[in-house]
Amino acid sequence: MIEAGELAAIQAAHPRVFRRTAAERGRLALAWACFGGVLALGLWRVLPTWDAFVAGLAKLGFLVGFMIPPAHGGHLGQMLHGLGETLAMAFLGTLFAAVVAVPLGFLGARNVLPVRPLHFGLRRLFDGLRGIDSLIWAIVFVAAVGMGPFAGILALAVPDAGTLAKLFAEAIENIEKRQVEGIEAAGANGLERARFGILPQVLPVMLSHVLYFFESNTRSASILGVVGAGGIGLQLAERIRLDDWQEVAFIILLILVTVAVIDFLSGWLRRRVIAS
């Protein structure tokens, strides 16, 4: 293709085409070393021994085999009750979060309450609430108010109230000013201003967010039962402990179907809310 002499000449004329400069090579080596180091540390901490891995894989194979065919084993009523509980938790958890988040969102919006320290403090509170996973809230609430769906509802509502309040506050900060000025010009007080000037503008956005959270909470609520906070998760964890894999598979399928149905319904509602 190319003789040696010409190759050498081209290499001499365009050295960087054939080899990186020392500085580039150094940077690249450093980047790979950092990445490799973290990865090696990670693998060292998480990887099981080879024997444990093979044994686990074999066990996993058996489990999947035992799952077929999925069966409810005569516990369909109990499972459906758990599923109902899951949906109830998702519904009420989202509802409570939304109810609390509306006033919090108004207070946290810069254009509603132009008090910097208050605004800053509220925003940090929202961040704190949503920084903690609902499962952590669940174990705390189970300890505080006892086992059952009530703890689950609270566990969903608390972090969501933080996230929704933040989203609501952002939506309120992005509204059109002229409509609010119109209401003010008509002599409205602060509360009336919020109700008639701001709320109509942000309500569709808020509703859409709330519906989206309902979808995601249906997924979350299906596992809170693992720590005793109600719903289908408790039965799932029990079946796994009892080695009842056909029923485990059945419950997983139930969860999948429920989540798909809720996604579909909520997606349909969200499109309607945004369209109107």
């Binding site: 099981p48 109830a88 009420l92």
Partner: protein, 294 residues
């Protein structure tokens, strides 16, 4: 004549208007009734009643109060040290959680990259692999991580490996869907050029598609890493390694000040990782990878 026509038109308008109002009222009414039914049903099934709320709220406040550490003005540092008495163990466990998130994200992203080209309608080599990849991603992201974790803990025994697997599978599903969406918006012209030059399918993906989508892939993976560190810090609750196990333990033993210390540690770690990842993501979006071949 004109007057009669006018009143006819007016009557017609009135009738239409009233019908529309009726329809609207009907929809609203149905909505309200449905909502009320759902609310009552949920309250019954969810065992929520005003009495429960009344007793619940004080007990929560009491619980929250108990978790507050005792920090005196006289020797605040010593008190904080006392509050975080287990910091060396907890930091190690927190590091484990972060590493579980890291390895899990990496493995999940790798699987997602490998399969996402099959799951894109514009790139897939055949309908069967498209269908399989799509359904696989859907399954992997719809089953909650914790369910995977429960099963893997049962199979592989307690420990971080189960957590890594659970996070990897769930991430592969979530990222795979996003990656496929990114793929479906690529510029088709380089793909055509490479196909016209006789390049094979994998080479076309590597050189015509990957350079276009890589910044987005990295950005989504970083976002996923943030989410996964949160997830990894709770997976320990079912025995899948990391700080979650310790947290569950201290909650069940009512070691109140330990609860607040560990929760605070998780909060700080998660926030730090969020901040670092956000920086990286902004850098990615601005620069994009300009890799030379050498």
């Amino acid at each position: 004549m004109v007057a009669a026509g006018g009143s006819d038109a007016f009557a017609l308008f009135e009738a239409r208007y009233r019908q529309l109002q009726r329809e609207k009222a009907l929809t609203t009414g149905c909505g309200v009734v449905l909502f009320a039914v759902a609310f009552v049903a949920s309250a019954v099934v969810g065992e929520v009643d005003p009495a429960r709320l009344m007793t619940g709220v004080p007990s929560i406040l009491d619980y929250a109060y108990r978790t507050l550490p005792e920090i005196s003005a006289r020797q605040p540092l010593a008190d904080i040290a006392e509050w975080f008495w287990g910091i060396d163990i907890w930091l190690m466990l927190m590091l484990d959680s972060v590493l579980i998130g890291f390895v899990g994200t990496l493995a999940g992203a790798g699987a997602a990259v490998a399969l996402c080209f099959h799951a894109s309608a514009n790139l897939t080599p055949n309908r069967l692999s498209f269908w399989l990849a799509r359904r696989g991603f859907e399954f992997a992201r719809t089953v909650p991580e914790l369910v995977f974790a429960l099963i893997f803990v049962f199979a592989f025994g307690p420990g971080p490996f189960a957590g890594v697997l659970a996070i990897a599978i769930h991430s592969a599903g979530a990222l795979g869907k996003l990656f496929a969406e990114v793929n479906e918006n690529v510029d088709p012209r380089p793909i055509e050029a490479l196909a016209a030059a006789g390049a094979g399918w994998s080479e076309t993906m590597r050189f015509a598609v990957l350079p276009q989508v890589l910044p987005n892939f990295l950005s989504y993976s970083l976002l996923r890493f943030e989410i996964n560190v949160r997830a990894a810090s709770v997976l320990g609750i079912v025995g899948a390694g990391g700080i979650g196990e310790e947290l569950y333990l201290v909650v069940r033993r009512f070691l109140y000040s330990d609860i607040s210390a560990i929760v605070l540690l998780i909060l700080i770690t998660v926030s730090l990782i969020d901040i670092v990842c956000e920086r990286l993501r902004h850098g990615l979006i601005e620069a994009g990878p300009a890799r030379a071949t050498r």
